[in-house]
């Protein structure tokens, strides 16, 4: 397998990678990791994982995470997101492949690699009988850092946990417990932070607090890799998005580039008289009827210069089809994601990307 490595915008479809309009891509041989290790904070090459039962969770994943970015990893349940994160963090052993964290191999130089990484797991897993401050100090020590009461105090204050520092974790609300998990992950001042579905099941206020925290961490230069089901958050927060399906990365690109390349626009026309079927004269446009024939929907490529709308409207006038209202809408990242992860979307997305 040959790969193209592009430091700037890239697009990966299946095993193929496309340049995002620049010509600075490096064409590499069978072991390309060293070429990109210096510019990436995490380099994943040909990573595979097959569990004992035979389930293949990851299949030849290649991924570069750039220093200081917010990277959102999207995928349906069972796609391999948590396995990927767990391998980088040292919780799961890969079957094959290589991962570098800040230039350190996660298996051969695991101590150096792990000391750079913080992980907020999906589940709230901590000793419920312990006090907040004790468990956070414990995490800092475990990751090899000398005690620093001033840093821990500031961290707990930033997470609104300072007043609860002497409370046992079991006495805290669900949202507060999740803050404790974040405090533990940040206690050793990591340069890379993994957030595995950090906002799943938390209230709106905490979600907002978390995103504020993510922004402030990014400002400090921390690289953040998150998985989320709230795709609108990825759209808003992430610099780049990766989509994983069936253990394979099927797309990686800058968020706005994905929106631009794969985004669709849709024109909705509310008809004066409902149609039973699409007239033959409108066959050259990609149309569909909705709302029992009261609405005519036209999907078109947002990037095309010629959208075909004026000719469509003229043709409709010629055919005597009147409309009382019109509206256009742009597809969200969620629409693109659903399209990508559904089997039917495969061909369309590849085509659009090319």
């Amino acid at each position: 397998m040959r790969l193209l490595y592009c430091p700037a915008a890239r697009l990966v479809i299946g095993k193929h990678e496309y340049s995002g309009g620049n010509n600075s891509c490096l064409e590499s041989g069978p072991s390309p990791l060293h070429l990109v290790a210096m510019s990436s904070v995490i380099s994943i090459a040909n990573l595979s994982k097959t569990y004992k039962g035979g389930f293949k969770a990851l299949d030849g994943v290649d991924l570069e995470i750039e220093r200081g970015e917010i990277f959102a990893l999207l995928g349906p349940n069972g796609a391999g997101k948590t396995t990927l994160i767990s391998i980088v963090c040292g919780i799961v052993t890969p079957t094959s492949g290589q991962v570098l964290a800040d230039g350190h191999d996660i298996q051969r130089e695991y101590k150096k690699a792990r000391s750079k990484i913080g992980l907020v797991p999906q589940e709230i897993s901590t000793d419920m009988f312990e006090k907040v401050i004790v468990t956070v100090n414990f995490s800092r020590g475990l990751f090899g850092k000398a005690p620093d009461s001033a840093y821990i105090e500031q961290l707990l204050k930033d997470l609104s946990l300072w007043d609860k520092r002497d409370s046992a974790i079991r006495e805290l609300s669900g949202g507060m417990k999740r803050r404790v998990m974040i405090a533990k992950a940040l206690s050793h001042e990591p340069e890379i932070l993994f957030l595995d579905e950090p906002t799943a099941g938390v209230d709106v206020e905490l979600r907002r607090d978390m995103w504020r925290l993510v922004s402030s961490l990014r400002e400090r230069g921390v690289t953040i890799i998150l998985t989320t089901h709230y795709i609108e958050e990825a759209e808003e927060m992430a610099d780049r998005v990766g989509v994983i399906r069936g253990g394979e990365i099927i797309l990686v690109d800058k968020t706005e580039a994905i929106m631009r390349k794969l985004g669709k626009r849709r024109l909705s026309l509310t008809l004066q008289e409902p149609l039973e079927s699409l007239p033959a004269g409108l066959g050259e446009w990609s149309l569909e009827l909705a709302d029992e024939g009261h609405q005519l929907l036209y999907s078109f490529d947002a990037n095309e210069e010629r959208t075909g709308i004026p000719t469509l409207l003229r043709k409709m006038t010629d055919l005597g089809i009147g409309f009382s209202d019109l509206d256009t809408a742009k597809s969200s990242l969620e629409d693109i994601f659903v399209d990508l992860v559904s089997d039917n979307g495969d061909g369309k997305s590849a085509e659009a990307a090319e």
């Binding site: 919780i91 052993t93 797991p121 414990f138 020590g141 475990l142 990751f143 090899g144 533990k184």
Partner: protein
């Protein structure tokens, strides 16, 4: 060497001990006192001396060893099993800690707790019987070796166990019988030749014998053999633990 990591883990485990002080210290002490009342007082007063030692004093090293073994195993097995059960083991696995450092933290804390308990039981024993310690350094060495070895053994059980039943299975079904049959309450020289020879396959015999030698200068087997067997068991446990971390057995997928 991640000194901060080892210290953090050790302190964390010790704080768990102090948080559950009642179960950790008081219960085994009460159990041992009951042994003294029954075996040392009620039955022991009708027993002859064993060698040159009064029966009540004779059982002191065996009783300490019984508590040391069971507590080391239960402390260490629970110490690692609980994070596995609650999911917090992710933090140990993702931390920059080598297998040896993790073992130093967990096993160090479990062994410390057992030794503290052993010394408390020894102090309690002096209230009931006259105890003398002929070789205090050897006694300390045996305490250390036994506590470390069986804490490692407990650590292995904690990793192996997939449920609370399995966690108590080995201590209940294997360790307690071996300890009772290991000469804690009698000298194996009192057994018929056949059973004496069978007893020599029981590793606990060597621990109890060596430990008793450090008290009264008398043991069922030579002190060098006792030390050698204990050290061999320690190396075996350490090797198994290193293998566990290398393969990720029941720790990592």
């Amino acid at each position: 060497m991640n000194v901060h990591g080892v210290w953090a883990l050790y302190r964390y485990e010790m704080s768990r001990t102090f948080r559950t002080l009642w179960q950790s210290i008081v219960t085994p002490v009460i159990t041992t006192v009951l042994y003294f009342v029954v075996f040392g007082g009620a039955i022991g007063s009708r027993m002859e001396n064993i060698g040159s030692v009064d029966y009540g004093a004779f059982i002191v090293p065996g009783l300490i060893m019984l508590s040391l073994l069971t507590q080391s195993i239960s402390n260490a097995s629970f110490g690692i099993y609980f994070p596995k059960f609650s999911g917090t083991v992710y933090e140990m696995l993702s931390a920059p800690m080598s297998p040896i450092e993790l073992v130093m933290g967990y096993v160090g804390a479990a062994a410390t707790k057992s030794i503290m308990l052993g010394l408390i039981i020894l102090a309690t024993a002096t209230l009931f019987v006259d105890v003398r310690i002929d070789h205090p350094f050897v006694m300390i060495l045996f305490l250390l070796l036994t506590a470390l070895t069986f804490s490692m053994f407990g650590f292995i059980i904690g990793i192996w166990a997939e449920g609370f039943e399995q966690l108590s299975f080995i201590p209940m079904l294997v360790v307690t019988p071996l300890t009772f049959l290991g000469g804690a309450f009698y000298s194996i020289n009192m057994l018929p030749d056949f059973w004496r020879n069978v007893s020599l396959f029981n590793p606990v015999v060597y621990l109890v014998s060596g430990f008793r030698w450090s008290f009264y200068g008398e043991g069922d087997v030579a002190i060098g053999v006792s030390l050698g067997i204990t050290a061999a068991f320690l190396v075996t446990c350490l090797s198994v633990i290193i293998w566990i971390f290398r393969t990720g057995y029941r720790l990592k997928d």
